[in-house]
């Protein structure tokens, strides 16, 4: 009897893991707030990025403000490979990163170990 329960619980756990990590889930995204001639967006770094997708307007100078709440070494840097940006993120401090919005497109960012990803969409 215990064995049947163990198997059922185990299989249920596997099912849950597959659904939770591989199922379709909505990605948190946000547009930047635009003021007069600037736009900015806050990104919370905690077990990943929140939002994971930031939409920016083309041609308006933009700043992304990263705040790392997460103590993990995994997220202690943010890398934008397309722009050669590799910036350390101090815990609980705001790190402002200026984004070149001259060309439209999708630009990925990642943590220093390339495990967590985010994306800037310029249009």
């Amino acid at each position: 009897m215990t064995q049947v329960v163990t198997i059922l619980v185990g299989l249920a756990l596997i099912g849950f893991i597959l659904w939770w990590f591989f199922g379709k889930h909505e990605v948190s995204s946000a547009a930047a707030t635009v003021t007069a001639d600037r736009q900015a967006a806050d990104v919370l770094v905690d077990g990943g990025y929140k939002p994971e997708v930031v939409t920016l307007k083309q041609g308006v100078p933009a700043t992304l403000r990263f705040t790392r709440k997460d103590p993990s070494a995994c997220l202690d840097r943010v890398v934008f490979p397309d722009w050669g940006i590799n910036r350390p993120l101090a815990q609980d401090k705001v790190e402002e990163i200026t984004i070149d919005t001259s060309k439209p497109g999708e630009y990925e960012w990642a943590c220093g170990m390339d495990m967590f990803h985010g994306k800037v969409i310029i249009k």
């Binding site: 064995q3 163990t6 893991i17 990590f21 390339d114």
Partner: protein, 642 residues
């Protein structure tokens, strides 16, 4: 709390348990028993391991999982089960949670240090910059911080001082050490009119130069920007690891549950034993090694090449170099110096040269420049009635007699037979022959050639050694081109190519395999961008940084081979890193799951933790070692080349 503090705390608190474990075979126990273990491990979990749990939970809520997830689940499972076991009077394994935390943190501490090591190339370049400059303002030398130096400023540099920004010398003469920027290890002699590069060191004399590029426009600033981009770029090979990383952690969790089920249900192992195997599986799986394999090698490889004066644009270029079959060279200015020089004088050397130089002095043709240079400081006779015949030669009156320098076709007299024969010989050797004529006779011949660079032959030999086929592309006719090619050891020549058709020629070559094109970056832009890898050669401050996938800061052809060798080595290291990272998981996970227990091969969770720490550490170490890998093409002392 920093990773270091967390590690030391965890180590300190684990030590009593380690001692306990070592004493166990002798029947000795530390006082306190399970209660001591409970207290120590609880402290470790609360302070050292808590950040793992925090991240794991935060990531979980975002439907993500990473290495922290694995560590958190592994240690929490061991810890919570031990609490339950203690309450129900079963055997505990608190020490597993404690040791795994300690080992993983140990790995992270080392890894952090190595990562900083790998990425400091740009910072090192930045440190080269001069902090101040002596600017002449209102006739007075004034010390100014670098940021206040403007274009057009006159700057004075004493021996031993750093040249602050890029510019051109207006007074003085000195040897300048440019090694830090160009990788050229011999000091370069400089005088009025020569360009100087910011951050290089003036050695022997006092110089005055006019600032031409400041701030972000200087060569050093551009190099730093390029290196920064290259170091953080992605190599296409990474797409594979990105894909694996996305599914890695959840798959490992599933494997761990299956491990537990198989041991507990199928093999009837006690819950504690099955749980230990499951925890070992979770702990040994290391996605970090996979994630670090490519970026760290890329960082070290591009950083080292920058120090050698070789700028590699990004990971894509690095990967492309690996596939190259052919290296095509532009002839003029790349294989040759681009400045024709007199190679032979037939006849009375002094008389022929002075007469020719006197006539050519007023001409601006490149051949004329070569003749005038060859005459050196000989006294030149006066010329009257000077006239240039476009593309053919020049004529005038010297010492009351009509004189002519130019091609044989329009010469006033026929060549005597012996001279005619020598002329044919010289032309066969791809030299341009002009004849010098005065009064009623031909005085002699001058042979001129755009000569190969002294290092060209060595550079080509190196490429052949690496299994590449060098090809020369030129606008010259086949005979001339072949003669030059023979001198440097190139077997294949595409001659008669108009400047605008170089890109098309590269395209043709591409049908046989990936092609690199080596050119000067200013005239060769289309060919550079058509080629699979464009290698732009620079000289002095005139470097077209955007022109190629690889930019050679100094105008030394041997750097082509060195750049290719270094790129290949770096890419090989990336593949090696990835191979080990994969193999490590492929072998480690089954062992941890207890698949080989019948062979006596098993891993406790703490050993798995140690192995995990070791795997990312070994990948980063392997990347950092790229800094010291032997390179055949690297030269300790490069001869000073004009």
């Amino acid at each position: 709390m920093s990773t270091r503090t967390r590690f030391w705390l965890s180590l300190l608190l684990s030590l009593p348990m380690l001692v306990n474990m070592l004493l166990m075979p002798f029947g000795l126990h530390l006082p306190g028993g399970e209660w001591l273990q409970l207290v120590l491990t609880t402290l470790i979990m609360a302070f050292s391991a808590w950040p793992f749990v925090h991240t794991a939970w935060a990531a979980f809520k975002n439907h993500h999982a990473n290495m922290d997830t694995l560590v958190a689940i592994g240690t929490l499972t061991a810890y919570l089960y031990s609490l339950y076991a203690m309450a129900t009077g079963r055997a505990v394994f608190f020490e597993s949670a404690a040791f795994v935390t300690t080992f993983v943190l140990l790995g992270q501490v080392f890894e952090e240090r190595m990562r900083n090591n790998a990425s400091d190339a740009v910072a090192k370049l930045g440190n080269l910059q001069a902090k101040e400059a002596t600017v002449i303002r209102d006739g007075q030398p004034t010390r100014l911080p670098l940021s206040e130096v403007e274009v057009g400023d006159l700057i004075q540099v004493k021996p031993g001082e750093k040249i602050a920004v890029d510019g051109t010398i207006v007074a003085g003469q000195s040897a300048v050490n440019e090694a830090m920027v160009t990788g050229e290890s011999m000091p370069v002699e400089k005088g009025v009119g020569d360009p100087v590069i910011g951050a290089t060191i003036n050695q022997t004399g006092t110089l005055q130069f006019k600032a031409e590029k400041v701030g972000d426009d200087t060569l050093l600033a551009q190099i730093m920007e390029m290196v920064r981009r290259a170091q953080n770029s992605h190599a296409p090979i990474q797409k594979l690891t990105d894909k694996v990383a996305d599914i890695f952690v959840p798959v490992v969790l599933v494997l761990a549950i299956l491990t537990f089920l198989v041991w507990n249900v199928l093999l009837k192992a006690p819950v504690a034993t099955a749980l230990i195997y499951a925890v070992a599986v979770v702990v040994i799986a290391c996605p970090c090694a996979l994630g670090l394999a490519t970026p760290t090698a890329l960082m070290v490889g591009t950083g080292r090449s920058a120090r050698l004066g070789i700028l590699i644009k990004n990971g894509e270029v690095l990967e492309e170099v690996n596939r190259l079959k052919t290296v095509a060279f532009d002839k003029t200015g790349t294989i040759t110096t681009g400045q024709p020089a007199v190679t032979d004088v037939i006849g009375d050397c002094d008389r022929v040269l002075t007469l020719a130089a006197a006539l050519e002095k007023s001409s601006e043709h490149p051949l004329a420049t070569a003749i005038v240079a060859a005459a050196g400081d000989r006294d030149l006779p006066a010329v009257a009635d000077f006239a240039a015949v476009a593309g053919k030669g020049v004529r005038g009156t010297v010492d009351g007699q009509p004189a002519w320098v130019g091609t044989a076709a329009l010469a006033p007299h026929d060549l005597p037979e012996d001279l005619a024969e020598q002329s044919t010989q010289l032309m066969k050797a791809a030299k341009t022959v002009v004849l010098v004529d005065q009064g009623e006779e031909v005085l002699g011949l001058i042979a001129i050639q755009d000569q190969p660079k002294p290092t060209a032959a060595a550079a080509i030999a190196n490429l052949k050694e690496q299994g590449l086929t060098p090809v020369m592309i030129t606008g010259d006719n086949q005979a001339v081109a072949e003669a030059i090619a023979r001198q440097v050891g190139i077997d294949r020549v595409v001659a008669g190519v108009l400047p605008g058709d170089k890109a098309a020629t590269v395209k043709q070559l591409q049908q046989e395999g990936p092609v690199a094109f080596v050119g000067d970056g200013i005239n060769d832009a289309p060919a550079l961008s058509t080629a699979d890898v464009g290698i732009a050669m620079g000289s002095g401050t005139d470097i077209a940084i955007d022109a190629g996938g690889i930019v050679l800061v100094k105008n030394d052809l041997r750097d082509v081979g060195l750049a290719i060798e270094l790129s290949r080595k770096t890419f090989k290291r990336i593949k090696l890193n990835l191979f080990w990272a994969f193999v490590y998981n492929v072998i480690g996970i089954p062992i941890a799951a207890g698949l080989f227990v019948s062979l006596g091969l098993a891993l406790s969770p703490e050993l798995a933790g140690l192995a995990m720490a070791f795997s990312s550490l070994s990948v980063v170490t392997s990347s950092v070692l790229l800094n010291t890998t032997h390179l055949k093409g690297e030269r300790k002392l490069a001869p000073a080349v004009a």
